[in-house]
């Protein structure tokens, strides 16, 4: 691998990312999948980086999932997107930051559509006016939250307490990165590093001390694909996609998988459990699986946040092996306790996947 070759491509796919004053829109699914991640994003931006960030509680789903599962027509999606823009305009902001990759894809698609078909923008304005009486300005900048963390990755590295280095061997940890399809496959120029060699997560991994590993099925979809997962009978398709990736990355012995999409970490995490139950096959060392993290969770770990504040307890594949390698202390007793210390009960242990790091 010639790194200069990749660097040349990375140079071509730079994008503008706003510096400050963000209007943040949450992801409907992420709040259920990995609820700690969005909270961590806010904590990093507001308390570590001292950025101005605004959220409006009237913000709704962007309708991206409905759109991609063919249950919401594009006109409706455009109008809902227009409403989010209106909330931003009313709050006096113009830099939109989305938490969800699918939202990011949808916002980009809507803006691109309006660019090519201005009459559809006009029509959407009318719909919004009729339905809500609102008006909007288009955002000056649309970034995904991972773009923002990417932009400030060096600041995060400066403040870091831990790095992606094996504390026993001193060697960089080996990280697999997986980008959500809707981040750059639809519009390669809107993703940092483009679609074939995306740089957004690679930049974080490298600056936080890790080593990125490229493996043959890196570009393969995680398999979520909305319709595939949402219909139970189709789930075999979804899990097979993830399995193809695991089988391909396994020989490279990754210490973790880093993701920037709501779906990818969910499925790359949960399917390891399902595969272990269905076929008895586990990946990673000691039957413990390969930990899958969101970029906010990883940033939080690097900054020294308590792993249980980041929500790592909701992962099916335990993150403890990674914490041990990075030398991050944690209290196993607190893993399943609420914020007030109340015992929430421990989940049942899977059959083959070793969920409890130390026997309980």
């Amino acid at each position: 691998m010639k790194i200069e070759g990749k660097q040349n491509i990375w140079k071509e796919y730079q994008k503008e990312i706003a510096e400050d004053h963000f209007f943040y829109v949450r992801s409907c699914v992420r709040q259920n999948f990995f609820p700690g991640s969005e909270k961590t994003f806010l904590r990093i931006l507001q308390y570590e980086l001292k950025k101005d960030l605004f959220e409006n509680p009237s913000h709704t789903t962007c309708s991206g999932i409905g759109y991609h599962t063919d249950i919401i027509p594009f006109e409706t999606s455009m109008t809902m997107v227009a409403r989010q823009f209106a909330l931003m305009t009313e709050a006096g902001y113009e830099n939109l930051v989305t938490s969800c990759i699918t939202s990011f894809g949808l916002y980009s698609e809507v803006l691109e559509t309006w660019h090519h078909f201005p009459e559809l923008e006009e029509k959407t304005r009318q719909f919004l006016r009729k339905a809500t009486g609102r008006e909007f300005k288009k955002p000056a900048n649309v970034s995904h939250a991972s773009d923002i963390i990417f932009k400030f990755r060096k600041e995060i590295a400066e403040k870091s307490k831990y790095s992606l280095v094996n504390k026993d061997t001193g060697k960089p940890l080996r990280v697999v990165e997986h980008i959500g399809c809707h981040y750059s496959k639809m519009f390669p120029s809107k993703g940092i590093g483009g679609a074939e060699y995306p740089y957004v997560l690679v930049g974080m991994i490298e600056d936080w001390g890790g080593e990125v590993i490229d493996y043959p099925e890196r570009r393969h979809c995680c398999g979520f694909g909305f319709r595939q997962y949402l219909v139970q009978a189709n789930r075999g398709f979804s899990i097979s996609c993830s399995k193809k990736k695991f089988d391909s990355m396994e020989p490279y012995k990754p210490d973790m998988i880093l993701t920037n999409c709501p779906g990818c970490p969910m499925f790359l995490d949960r399917w390891q459990y399902a595969i272990s139950e269905m076929e008895g096959k586990t990946y990673g060392e000691n039957n413990q699986g390969i930990p899958v993290l969101t970029y906010e969770e990883l940033a939080g770990l690097v900054l020294g946040y308590n792993p249980w504040d980041l929500g790592l307890q909701v992962h099916q594949v335990p993150a403890e092996p990674l914490l041990d390698k990075m030398g991050i202390p944690y209290d196993p007793e607190m893993k399943f306790r609420g914020a007030d210390g109340q015992d929430l009960g421990k989940p049942e242990a899977p059959t083959t996947l070793k969920f409890y790091a130390k026997e309980v």
């Binding site: 691998m1 010639k2 200069e4 070759g5 990749k6 040349n8 491509i9 483009g194 679609a195 074939e196 060699y197 490229d214 493996y215 043959p216 099925e217 890196r218 570009r219 020989p251 490279y252």
Partner: protein
């Protein structure tokens, strides 16, 4: 005073046009931006269809560089003007040349394979282009081609940068299919144990002897052809490559490990040709190659009186067709100057 012509580009087309015009008594200025004549021909080792040494063709062309041809090597054109019936060309070094006719023979460029990002050229260790393979052959470094590699499986990828909307080129480069088959045979001669696979969409073996080369490649050399265009390549830990194609004749996706990937890069209109064309107001086709006055009947003149075209400025062509075309141009120029 005898009439004069300026020929821009000293490749196969420019050299042959110059030689024929000199023979017909026209005084010729031949402008070449490189330090030497020959153009792309100088990069090739053995030529399809008969695999003769390319130097022999160059020697033939060079023999035509006789009295009556003034050579201007290392010459960069800064400006072209047409006034009355005369062309004036200003060179970067301050020289000015004048003539009654102008021939554009500035040729083509090969497609920059880095633009097909998913093929990993310039990123993965063992991806090269057909042009680099010719360099290998020419510099007698053939033994290094896959030194130390045990299995020696080589994939040859057709249509790199051609027939591809994503690469911005809808046209077929015409000669990469036969180049790929030629190179496959040459590798096999060098490494009889190598397994060679050509991944193609259509085999466009359009010219005399080409189809027979394909037959020979299969019959004598056991070269295998899989119908399916490379969708993406990735690098394995051991620096081999994993290629993904559809084996369209079985209807199944296929993956295969290869030790070396050779990309058959196509023709692209050269930016220099386009720059000169813009100075003169010449017409480009949708494919960005230059257009003659008529595709069937006036194939060597342009709509601007006194401006002629020769060779691959008009699109992909092999040496034989380029030489024939250059001769036709020479006759057209001589007629015009009468």
């Amino acid at each position: 005073m005898s009439k004069t012509a300026i020929i821009i580009g000293g490749g196969t087309a420019g050299m042959e046009t110059a030689s024929q015009l000199a023979r017909l008594g026209v005084e010729v200025d031949l402008i070449e931006k490189q330090p030497h004549l020959g153009g792309h021909l100088k990069n090739w080792d053995r030529l399809f269809p008969n695999r003769r040494n390319s130097d022999e063709v160059f020697d033939y062309l060079e023999k035509g560089m006789n009295d009556g041809i003034s050579l201007h090597l290392n010459a960069e054109i800064s400006n072209i003007r047409k006034s009355e019936e005369k062309f004036t060309i200003a060179l970067q070094d301050g020289k000015e040349l004048q003539s009654d006719a102008l021939v554009i023979a500035t040729g083509y460029e090969v497609f920059d394979a880095r633009k097909k990002e998913e093929y990993g050229y310039g990123i993965y260790d063992n991806v090269i282009t057909s042009v680099e393979l010719e360099e290998f052959f020419r510099s007698n470094k053939q033994k290094n081609l896959l030194e130390g590699v045990a299995s020696k499986r080589i994939g040859i990828i057709h249509c790199v940068g051609s027939r591809d909307e994503k690469a911005g080129n809808l046209y077929c480069s015409k000669l990469c299919c036969v180049t790929g088959v030629k190179q496959a045979i040459e590798i096999k001669e060098l490494m009889p144990d190598a397994e060679i696979f050509c991944f193609y969409m259509d085999l466009r073996m359009f010219d005399r002897h080409f189809e027979e080369m394909y037959y020979e490649a299969q019959e004598k050399w056991g070269i295998q052809f899989i119908r399916g265009r490379l969708s993406e390549a990735s690098e394995n830990t051991d620096h081999t490559l994993l290629v993904k194609v559809e084996d369209t004749l079985t209807g199944l996706p296929l993956k295969m490990k290869v030790d070396l990937l050779i990309l058959l890069v196509g023709f692209v209109p050269s930016p220099e040709t386009r720059r000169l064309a813009a100075m003169l107001g010449l017409k480009e086709g949708d494919d960005r190659f230059l257009c003659p006055a008529d595709e069937h009947t006036i194939t060597n003149s342009t709509e601007i009186p006194g401006v002629f075209l020769a060779g691959t400025v008009k699109g992909p062509a092999g040496i034989a067709n380029t030489i024939t075309d250059a001769r036709a141009t020479a006759i057209q120029v001589a007629d015009y100057l009468k």
